[in-house]
Amino acid sequence: MAFAGRVALVLALAVSLYGITAALYGARRGRRDWVDSGRHSIYCLAAILTVAMVILEVAFIRNDFSYNTVANTSSTTTPLLYRAAAMWSSQEGSLLLWVWLLSVWASVATFITRNRLRDIVPYASSVLLGFGAFFTTLLVFFDSPFNQTHPAPTNGAGLDPLLRNPSMLIHPPMLYSGYTFFTIPFAFAVGALVVRRVDADWIRVTRRFALASWLFLGIGIVLGARWSYYELGWGGYWGWDPVENAALMPWLISTAFLHSVMIQEKRGMLKIWNASLVLGASTLAIVGTFLVRSGVLNSIHAFGASTLGIPFVALIAAMTGGSIYLVVSRREVLRSEHTLDSLFSREAAFLLNNVVLVGLCFVIFWGTFFPLISKAVTGTSAAVGPPWFDRYTVPLALILVLLSGIGPAIAWRRATLANARRNFLLPLGAAAAMAVGAYTVVPIGSSPGVVLLFCAAMFVFASVGQEFWRGWRARRATSRDSPPQALLSMVRRNRRRYGGYIVHVGIAVLFIGVAASATFEHEQTLSLQVGQSARVGAYTMKYMRATGSVVTDPNNTGATMTLGAVLRVTRGGHYVGTLRPSAGYYPASPIVPGLVVASLISGDAVDQIGLQSSWRRDLWAAIKPLGTTLAANGTQLPEESLVNRADGLIPTSESGVDQLKLAYYLLRAIVGHYVAYPPAASFTLIASPLVMWIWVGGLIVFLGGLTAIWPAPSGVRDRVRARYLARVGRELGRA
C-alpha cells in the first residue's frame, strides 16, 4: 500500500499544479468552466490526501514497521490511541497532516464561495493550490511518509514519551487547523488585491475564515499550555518557547484584524491596515509551521531536526515580498473612505487595541528571533529568557485587559462625557472595590502588578455584565420573552457582539489565573526519604511510601517500568489530599543483547505528575527516583546495581523471547525491591493558586468564539431583514 500512498502524493502534486493553471487560465480568458475545474482540483486534492492519510494511519495502527516513519515514531508497546496520533510526531507525518487539513478547509471555503466573489475565487484557488503544491512537493521530493525499509524491523523506536498525553491527540490538529485556516483569508486577500476589489462581500467571507483560524489556533495554544503543565515536569504552562511564541504571534495579529475589520465594515477605514494584518497573520502562521519543524531555534517542541529550512525560507520570503508588493501597488484602492469622528469612540478604542496587539507581537517576534538576530550582528547567539518577555508583555497585557472592558462600554462613532460617566461608573466602582479588597480582605496587596490586573479584570466583568444586563432589559421591554428566553434571543440576534463580550470575559479570567499563579506560586525542589516532609507555602507534603509497576503503566502510556510515590498533603494539620507522582521508564531501541533488563528501561524517562486541582489552588508534584546517570542517554536509572546483576543472570544462550520473559521477571523483582526499600527521591512540589482559571478562561474564550462564528438561523435572519427592509422603506417614503 505504500506504493499507492506514493502515487497519491504524486497525483496530489499534479492536481495542484493543474488546478493553479486551470484557475488562472479561466480568470484571464473569462472561462467559467476552467475556473470551476480549478476549484474542483481543491476537492480532488482533499480526496487524494484523505486516501494518503488513511493508508498511513492504517500502517500505524497495524504496526507496519516497513514504513520508516512508523518504525521511527511508533512501536508495539505504544498504546493504540497514541499510535493513531503518532503520525504527527514525525516531520513527514506532520507535513502530510498540514496539507491534508489545508485541502479540507480550502474545500470548505471554495464550496461556500462557489457562487460569489467570482472574480476573486480563481486567484484565491490558485494561492490555496499553491500552498498545496508546495507541501506536496516537500512530501514527494524531500521527505515522503511512504519511504520503506526491507526487511522491516521487528519493532519500532516508539513514540516520544513526552507526546503520550491526551492533549497531544488533539493539540497538533487544532494548531495546524489554525495555521491552515489562515491560508484562506490570505488567499482571498491576495485575490481581492489582484482584482482590486476589497468590498463588503470580501470582508464578510474573509472575516468568518479569520475568526475560524483564530478559534482553532486559540484552542491549540491552550491545549499546548495544558500539555506543558501536565507533561514537561517543570510545573509551568508557558515558557516563552519559540514554538509557543510562533503560535501566539499570528493569533495576536488575527485578534487585531477581527477588531479593526469592523471599522472597515462600518466606516470603510483602515483598508491598508486590514489587508496588511491578514497577509501578516498568514505569513506568521507559515513561520510558525517552519519553527515547529526546522530546529532553527532551540525549542522543547522541536521534535527532530529538519532538512526543509531553505524551501520554507523561500516560501516565507515569497509571501512577504508578494504581500508588500500587492499592498503598495493597490494603495489607491485601499484608501480610507472616512476619517475618525472622535477620539472618544469604539473605533478609537479598537485602534488602540490594535496598536497594543501589534506591539505585543513585535516584542514577542524580537525576543523569539533574538538568537538569530544577535548571531547575525555579533556572531554570537544570545537568547532572551522569560524575565525579558515579562518586562514588556505584562504592561501591554494589562492595557489589553483594560481595553477589553472599555470597548463594550462606549458607542461607535462618538461618545459623550455624560454617557461615559454613566457607563463607566459601575466598572470603575468594581475596580475600586477590588483595589480596596486587595489590601484588606484578599492578601495580594504586596504585589501591585497583580492588584492592577485584578482591578482591570473586575472592570471587564462589570462592564460586560452591565452590557448584558442593559441589553437583556431592553429585550424584555420590547418582547414577551421569559427572562431566560430574552437573554438567549438577545445573544442569538447579535452573536458577534455578545460572542465578543464573552471572549473578553474569558480573556480576563485567563489573565487572573496567569497573574495569580505566576506571582503567588510556592515551589520546592528537594530530596526526600520515605517519612520525610516538605513545606510548600501553607501546605505540608509527606512522602508516605514508594510505588512501582512493570508493564501495567497506571497512566496507560506504554511505560515498561513506573516508579512513583504517594504524598500526603495537609494544611494546618488537616488532611487536604493525596498526590501520586510517578516517573515512567521506556525501552531503548533496539534491545542490546546481554543488557536486556537495562534496555527495557533505559530509553526515555518521563514525569507523570501528581495533581490535585481545585478552583482555589493546584497542588502539583513530580518525582525523579535517584540513581546513577547512565552514560548512554543521561537517564537517571534507579537500582542500577540490581539491573546490572539481573542482566548477568540472563543466559545469552536462551532465545530472544525467553531472554525477554526472564528480563521482565527480574524487572518485577527489582521494582519489588525498590518499593520495599525505597531510596531517596528528588521531588518538585508546587502549590499554585487559581491555575484552574486559566483553563476555565480558555473554555470561556472558546465558547465566546463559537457564539460569534455560529451562523444566524436563516429564519431569524430573514425576519430581521424583513423588519429592517420595512423600516428603511418607511424612511424612503419620508424622504
Binding site: 493543474y18 468552466d33 482540483s41 480532488c44 455624560a418 424612503l732
Partner: protein, 101 residues
C-alpha cells in the same frame, strides 16, 4: 492481494480525479443555478453591513451609550446610507432587466 488492492485504489482515485476535473467542461451551458452578479453580491453584503450598523446603533442607544440626540442623528445618517445602497440595488435590477429585454 495487497498489490491488487493498491492498484484498484489508484485506479479509483484516477477515475474520480478525471471525472471531477472534467465535470465543468461536460456541464458547459448547463449551469442550473446562475449565480447573482458580483456587483449585486457586493451591494447585498454592503446592505447587510449597513443594517447591522443600524442595529448596533440601536443597541448602543438602548444600552445607554448614546444620547437621544446623537442616536437620532446617527440613525438618520445610517438609514440615509442604507437608502443609497437600496437605490443602487434598484438601479442594478433595472439595468439587468433592460439588458435582459
Amino acid at each position: 492481494m495487497t498489490a491488487l488492492l493498491a492498484a484498484l485504489l489508484i485506479a479509483a482515485l484516477l477515475t474520480f480525479v478525471l471525472w471531477a476535473l472534467s465535470a465543468p467542461f461536460r456541464a458547459r451551458g448547463g449551469d442550473a443555478t446562475p449565480p447573482a452578479s458580483d456587483a449585486r453580491r457586493a451591494l447585498e453584503s454592503a446592505k447587510q453591513a449597513k443594517y447591522s450598523e443600524i442595529r448596533d446603533n440601536e443597541t448602543d442607544y438602548r444600552t445607554g451609550k448614546l444620547s437621544d440626540e446623537d442616536y437620532r442623528t446617527l440613525d438618520r445618517q445610517l438609514r440615509g446610507e442604507a437608502v443609497e445602497i437600496l437605490r443602487a440595488i434598484d438601479e442594478l435590477d433595472a439595468l439587468e432587466s433592460s439588458t435582459g429585454d
